[in-house]
Every structure is written in C-alpha cells, then in structure tokens.
Amino acid sequence: MSQILEELMTEPIGFIIAMVILIAGAVGGLYGYWAYANHVTLQNYLWPIAEVVPYKGEYFLAVINTGYEPFIVKQIYLSNGSTIHVNTKPLTHNQWFTETTNQLPIAVRVCSAVEPSVCTVAPVHGWSMAEVGVPRDAILVVVETTIEPAVSINGPPTPIGNPIGNPIGNPISGHGRGPIGSPIGNPIGLPINVTVLHEPSNCHWSLTWYGWAGGSISHTGNLTFLIQPVYGDVHFIPINLLGPNKASPGSVVVFKIFCTWW
C-alpha cells in the first residue's frame, strides 16, 4: 500500500492524478460550503414580524417586512392545526400583508422572493389591552348609552300554551275573532333572558363644567371628548346625564345618558 502511495507521490503521472483529486475535492468542498453559507446568510436577513389582534369575533393578522430582503408569505399556521396557503406578492421594506382568519394564527412561513427555497417561520405575537392615557392637564369625558347585561327573570309557573300571568283555562280574547288559540307562554321554571337598553341614544343632553377653565357642550347620543387644559378639580352640571359631579386632572369620567320622557 505504502509502495503504491510512494509511486503516486513520486511518479509524474501519479503526481498529476493526486493533484487533480486534491483540487477537485477542495473546489467541491468549498462550493458546498459556499452554497450553505449563502443559504444561511439569506435566511438570516429575512426579518418578518407577524402580529394578531382579535377583531369582531375573528382574528386580524398582519405580517410586515422589517428588513430589506424581499419575501413572500407562503403559509399561515392556525391553532387548530390547519394551514392557509397564501402566496403573496413580494413584500419589500416596511410593506404589510393582512389577512382575517376565524382561527387564531400562531405562525407564518415566509420565503425569500429572490431564492424561494430559502424560508423561515415567524411566530405570531399575542396582543395586549391598554388604557388610553389621559394627559395630566386633561379630563377625558365619555358620554355613552349603555346596554345592561341580560337579565334573567324567572316567570311565574304557567303551563306552556298560556301567556305569563294568565290563569289556566281563561282564554284571551283577540280583536274580534274569539279566543287566541296558542298564545306564547313561559315554560315552567325556564328563565327568560331580557336585554335592556338603558336609555334611548337619541336623547339630547348637555354638560357644563367650571373650575380653572369653564365650558359647556350639547350633543345627542354618544360622545367622547377631552376637556383641556385643566388645573385642579373640575365641577360638572349635567343635564340628562348621570355621572359624577366633579373630576380631577388626568382622569376619565363616564356619564350615562338619562332622559326623562314626558
């Protein structure tokens, strides 16, 4: 064996063969490493950010390219294990892609627009809720019509087929055509859900305030506004509103619309 190696290393033909093998190996190895390095480099420069917020019973997803390497959004992974295939146009720096889904998106797969085989998966960030801050020299006034939560009323135990409060067996007369055949009744023991609109939203109200600076506003229906600037407590004179009679700077005051109808 060592004799063969000696031959290869010392004879001119063997020398040439050895050189060819060595150079081919070196070039092949370098080429493979170069391809790998290029792949990793390109992947490292794919900078997607994916955000989601709940909106009207669905999920509003947005994907932004925060980098300079253009990419295509290929897939959206949902929390129930399903996948949405999207294949967007290339997104360049600071461009968004949005989508509404009925399941929570948990990740997106994006691929380079230059080299589609280079892909990366970005997790979708969760959302938070924040109170919108009121400046220290202001008071936020929220005037709103409220809808009370559903109220359960356990009606009197009347048999099905009879209206609430109607004594059994007493027919109810309709207009001109004798007894009502099947009046709507409350089944025994079942609650009735009632949603109460607190007060009508077309009620006209007004609010006057005084303190360091005074003012007033008149409006119909819901309104959110800022009293600014204020220094020290502000006192209110509400008309057709229910709420506090004074507030401090930097706070939120909520008034409920309350009209008296004659």
């Binding site: 001119p12 390095a37 917020v53 959110t224 800022l226």
Partner: protein, 113 residues
C-alpha cells in the same frame, strides 16, 4: 552519480513539490473558507441586533385634542381608529372609549389567548 542515486534525488524533488502544492491548496482553501464565512457570521450578528431591537419595540397611547393617538418608537404616531391599523411595527385599534388593543414586536407569542 549512479542512476539509482539520481532516481532517489528526483523522487525527493517530486515529493517536495507535492507537499508544497498540498500546503498551497490548504492555505488557499482556508482563506476562501474565511472569506465565504464572513458574510454568514455578519448576518448572524445582524439578526441578533435586529431581534434585540424588536424585543424592545413598544407602543404608547394618549389623547389629544383631535382624539386618541398611538405613538411608537422613532417618533412614529398615528390616530387610533376603531379598525386595526399600523403604528410603526405595531398593530392597534381603539376597542372602546378608554381601551386600546394592540400587538407589537415586543409582545411575546401567546397561543393561549
């Protein structure tokens, strides 16, 4: 000098050339490997820097005379609407008169919500 001695001397010469060429190839391959690696290494550092900056990216909310505003970093701000909109790299909208819902790069992924 006998023919045997001459052959030995020639063989030693070829061996020396072979060794020299192998060393040259190794040196060239080493330099090439470093040159190829550098962009990859730099991209790794760049990605870490980007991840770091994104993990600090936040948004704040305030009221102005013209309504509620969201302000992100680098002086980016936008009015809050009742539909989701973009404020810098954040997504935000006004949920009710005093509450905003938002998602920013600094928010951690939360699959439970």
């Amino acid at each position: 000098m006998s023919p045997k001695t001459r052959a030995k001397a020639r063989n030693r010469g070829i061996s020396s050339v072979f060794t020299a060429v192998v060393i040259a190839i190794a040196v060239v391959a080493g330099i090439a490997a470093v040159a190829i690696s550098w962009p990859m290494i730099k991209s790794g550092f760049d990605k870490n820097t980007w991840s770091g900056s994104m993990s600090l990216y936040k948004v704040g909310f305030t009221y102005t005379e013209s309504g509620a505003y969201a302000y992100a970093q680098n002086g980016v701000s936008a009015p809050l609407n009742d539909t989701p909109g973009f404020v810098g790299y954040c997504l935000a909208y006004q949920y009710n008169a005093t509450t905003a819902i938002y998602s920013c790069p600094s928010n951690q992924p939360d699959y439970q919500r």
